[in-house]
C-alpha cells in the first residue's frame, strides 16, 4: 500500500513537471516524451534510476522515461557480457517486451477501431 502511494506521488510529480514543460515552452508532447526517454537513459548511466525504482516502483516504472532505463539497462548488461557486439545486441534486450507490445497492440487496435470525430 505504501508503494502504491509512493508510485502516485513520484509518478504524478514527473507528469506534473512535464505539464510545466508543455505550458511554458512551444514544444509538443512528442518533444516531451523524447526528452524524458533521454533523461531516463542518463539517469540510468549514473545509477540514479535503479535507486528511484527501488524507492517508488511504478512511479518511475510507468512514465515513458522507463523506456530510457530499460534500453540502457540492456546495453550495459550485454556490454559487460559480450563487449562491443553487446552494445548492439543489448539495446532491445530488456525493452523488447514493451516495444513489441506497443507496436502489436497499437496496430491491431488501429485495424479494428475507427477514429471518433
Amino acid at each position: 500500500m505504501l508503494m502504491i502511494l509512493k508510485a502516485f506521488l513520484v509518478g504524478g510529480l514527473i507528469c506534473a513537471l512535464g505539464q510545466v514543460f508543455l505550458d511554458n515552452t512551444k514544444y509538443t508532447p512528442a518533444h516531451l516524451l523524447v526528452t524524458l526517454v533521454v533523461l531516463g537513459c542518463i539517469f540510468t548511466a549514473f545509477g540514479v534510476y535503479d535507486w528511484l525504482l527501488d524507492f517508488s516502483g511504478a512511479g518511475v516504472g510507468v512514465p515513458v522515461s522507463n523506456f530510457g532505463y530499460i534500453l540502457t539497462k540492456g546495453v550495459l548488461l550485454e556490454a559487460k557480457r559480450d563487449g562491443l557486439i553487446g552494445l548492439f545486441k543489448g539495446v532491445l534486450e530488456v525493452a523488447s517486451a514493451g516495444i513489441s507490445a506497443s507496436v502489436i497492440f497499437g496496430f491491431l487496435v488501429a485495424v479494428f477501431f475507427k477514429p471518433r470525430k
Binding site: 514527473i14 505550458d23 540502457t72 497492440f105 496496430f107
Partner: protein, 149 residues
C-alpha cells in the same frame, strides 16, 4: 457593416488565441492527479501479479504490457483522448500515453492506406522516442565500456 469573410471554424481559431486558458496551476494539479493515478494503478497491478506468485521482474514486464494494451484499447474507444483533455501531460507521459501516441495517428491516417498511412504514421511519435532512446543508450554503453566508469 462589413461582411465577415471567415468560416465558423476559422473564427473559432481566431478567438481561441485570445481566450484565457486554464490557469497553469490547474493544469499542473490535473496532470499530477491523472499521472499519479496511472502510476499508482501500475504499482497495484505489479503487486497483484506478485501476490499471484510471479517473480518481481516478470510482474513489472507483464504490468507494462497490460498498461500498453489498456492505453491502446481506450484510445480505440475514444476514451483516452477525453482523459487527455483533462490530464494533459498526466496522460501523455505514462506508458499508456505512448500507446496512445501510436494508435491515434495509426487510426487517423487509415485513409492514406495500410502501408503509408497506418503502417508509417503510427511511428510519428514512437519513432523519435525509440530513435533517440536507442542512440542515447548505445552511446552511454560505448562511453561506459571505453572509460569503465
Amino acid at each position: 457593416m462589413k461582411n465577415v469573410d471567415k468560416t465558423p471554424d476559422e473564427y473559432n481559431q481566431m478567438i481561441n488565441q485570445f481566450r484565457p486558458g486554464k490557469p497553469k496551476i490547474v493544469n499542473f494539479l490535473q496532470a499530477y492527479l491523472v499521472g499519479g493515478l496511472i502510476c499508482g494503478f501500475g504499482q497495484a497491478l505489479i503487486e497483484i501479479l506478485q501476490l499471484l506468485g510471479m517473480p518481481a521482474d516478470e510482474a513489472s514486464s507483464l504490468a507494462t504490457i497490460i498498461l500498453i494494451f489498456l492505453g491502446a484499447l481506450l484510445t480505440g474507444l475514444g476514451i483516452y483522448d477525453e482523459i487527455g483533455q483533462f490530464g494533459g501531460a498526466g496522460s501523455a507521459v505514462p506508458i499508456t500515453g505512448f500507446a496512445n501516441a501510436i494508435v491515434s495517428p495509426a487510426m487517423e491516417f487509415k485513409s492514406e492506406g495500410w502501408i503509408l498511412g497506418t503502417g508509417a504514421k503510427m511511428y510519428i511519435v514512437a519513432g523519435p522516442v525509440l530513435t533517440y532512446g536507442m542512440v542515447t543508450a548505445f552511446l552511454i554503453g560505448l562511453i561506459k565500456t571505453i572509460f569503465k566508469f
